[in-house]
């Protein structure tokens, strides 16, 4: 049925199997859309957010997802700007992941605001001092860039190539790709930063406030570095996951190693910077504003353990693992380290968003806690489902892993047999 759409020379599972795989995700998406609709129609009273917890699960999700999606721009940067050609093997997959993460984040943002119909005000009456303006502009621009980067992947599809004009179009786009990568990298760097700035500028929240380097608070740069660090790690994980699920070899063995090395390197830099930043903040920034550093960590359950977990357990440790060639070579170590790195950054985003709001600022404030409502969780799951669906389609019909074909050709025939038997789930 859809055979003629599938890339030449790669094996994909039967349409039936594919549908079977899609169904649960489609259902999840439907449920998610329902809860999102509830929020949009009935208003944000459907969530468990309140005046003290003005931000909740969704902002945490946005920041995390976007950090993980950073693989797209950073790989692009390494490939097209620094010319590390081995990364061609994953760039398409990275772009798809980036697209999924960013578009998902934008959709959630639209649900998260009280008056989505006025979202465009930010473009018409922008407040140039606001980090959120920066974020909005960069995200929307970068999303366009990602869409354009995604086009050639689509256009490479067998059937579409039969249309000559499309072929030309795709060719033109390809010339553009370097420009796009450049622009994309710049935008993405910038708004990963502004996402960090988002909290760093909150002078009213000494827990989040950081002193500025040049125009931006230190969190601006920390977010960039940490995003660059986990981006590759996340690609590492997803690639491995797809290989497992589709039971196929998708990239040459040296590629994961390379990704791991890059990730480790960036992570090490991040841990160093983060440590310095934390020390400055604890000993100068915060006390200067009348808040003693220790007090933040005396509100259960947010003890100093969270600081340790963020910087050492999920920062330094994975960095060292990824940096050591021996451990890195071992898939188990490599993947768990990558996973840890992702958790570390997720934890960092959690601290910046949720803990910041939970901590009291007035002496007669209580310590606040918050649990998301099912509508919030539902919307969150919708993004996950949406991501899986888009990726599944892209993987089935487009060439996300250029090396897949060659790897199949090289593969010894009997494995060919076996593969025909258990013809992958995709």
């Amino acid at each position: 049925m859809d055979k003629e759409f599938i890339t030449r020379g790669v094996k994909r599972c039967s349409g039936g199997k594919f549908l079977l795989w899609l169904t649960p995700w489609a259902l999840l998406l439907a449920f998610g859309l329902y809860s999102a609709a509830l929020v949009l129609i009935k208003g944000l009273n459907q969530t468990n957010m309140d005046n003290r917890f003005a931000f909740g699960l969704w902002i945490f999700l946005d920041l995390t997802v976007i950090a993980l999606g950073a693989g797209a721009f950073f790989t692009g940067f390494l490939l097209y700007i620094l010319k590390i050609d081995d990364l061609k093997a994953v760039i398409n997959s990275a772009v798809v992941i980036g697209l999924v993460c960013y578009s998902g984040a934008v959709c959630v943002l639209a649900v998260d605001v009280g008056q989505p119909l006025r979202a465009w005000f930010t473009f018409w009456y922008p407040n140039v001092h606001s980090m959120l303006t920066e974020v909005t502009f960069c995200i929307s621009c970068y999303l366009t860039v990602l869409a354009i980067e995604y086009l050639p992947i689509v256009l490479k599809n067998r059937r579409l190539r039969e249309v000559p004009s499309m072929l030309v179009f795709e060719h033109e786009l390809h010339k553009l790709i370097y420009v796009l990568a450049g622009v994309g990298t710049f935008l993405s760097f910038f708004h990963q930063g502004s996402l960090g700035g988002l909290y760093g500028v909150l002078r009213g929240r000494p827990f989040a406030f950081r002193e500025g380097l040049a125009l931006w608070p230190s969190t601006f740069f920390l977010f960039i570095i940490s995003a660059a660090a986990v981006g590759p790690s996340f690609i590492l994980l997803t690639t491995w996951l797809v290989e497992k699920i589709s039971r196929k070899k998708l990239v040459k063995p040296e590629v994961p190693g390379l990704l791991a090395r890059v990730s480790g390197l960036m992570l090490a830099v991040y841990v160093l910077a983060k440590t310095v930043d934390t020390l400055v903040w604890l000993n100068r920034t915060s006390p200067d504003r009348g808040f003693q550093g220790w007090q933040y960590y005396s509100w259960r359950p947010f003890g100093t353990w969270i600081l340790f977990a963020e910087i050492v357990a999920f920062g330094l440790v994975p960095a060292l693992i990824l940096l050591s060639p021996k451990l890195r070579a071992h898939a188990g170590w490599r993947l768990s380290a990558a996973a840890m790195a992702c958790c570390g950054v997720a934890l960092n985003r959690f601290v910046m968003t949720v803990q910041t709001l939970a901590l009291p600022t007035l002496s007669f404030d209580p310590f606040m806690s918050y649990y998301p409502s099912w509508q919030e969780v539902g919307t969150f799951l919708a993004v996950v489902a949406y991501g899986v669906l888009v990726y599944s389609f892209s993987f089935r019909y487009f060439q996300l892993f250029p090396q897949e074909r060659d790897l199949r050709v090289q593969a010894p025939p009997q494995r060919e047999e076996s593969e025909l038997v258990t013809a992958g789930r995709y």
Partner: protein, 251 residues
Amino acid sequence: MNARYGMTIDIDRCNGCGACMVACAVENNIPPAHAGANDRKGLTWIRVYKVDNGKEYPERRSAFVPVLCQQCGNETPCAHVCPQQAVDVDPKTGVVGQMPERCLGCRYCMAACPYHARYFNWWDPAWPKGMEKTLNPSVAPRMRGVVEKCNFCHGRWHEARERAAANGLAASEPVDYVPACVEACPAGAIRFGNLNDSTSEVAHKSKEPDSFRLLEKLGTDPKIYYHSKRDWVKTIAEAPRPGAGKENVRG
């Protein structure tokens, strides 16, 4: 000559009756609590907190602290972060204005405000049947999904300016008016006026040694001055001290 509207609140005079909170809601067309609203999802532009000296009964002593928008004058945190200029500081009055019809409800300003003086409209405003007849025409109707806060009763400010114009007075601050909470406070604990006018009562009181501002060290230069002769009350101006037992269960 620009004005700098501000308030002095004498904590030693406040017995926490709540007249200011009710008067504020009446003046600004704020609806009664929607079913499901609680002390974390409510709309109380001015809110009276009960604070205590952290000791146990019978040494425990309490005081009532009305907290409203502190009208920060220096790098106003909320105005600084709003992505679409829904918050601005009026140079002529120093009042931090919030524009519900420009606000998209991102709540970034609420995260930015250290005083929790900003409130989000979680529900569509609704009044018991007939009660909408008592709405104040000088203040816009409320709407769902936007952030709001105290603006020193701008409806009254508009009226005062119109009166002045009608009486042929020149356009100049300060105009002659007081916010609803000031008018309502039976104990006269809240005073309102122009801090730039050295002859005004607020200017005097704000300079007294017993006057203090909340979280002054943040450097946001708030325009609400609190006043108390009790030393333990003065400590509420500082950052929280975990374990000092300063848990606030009332207010």
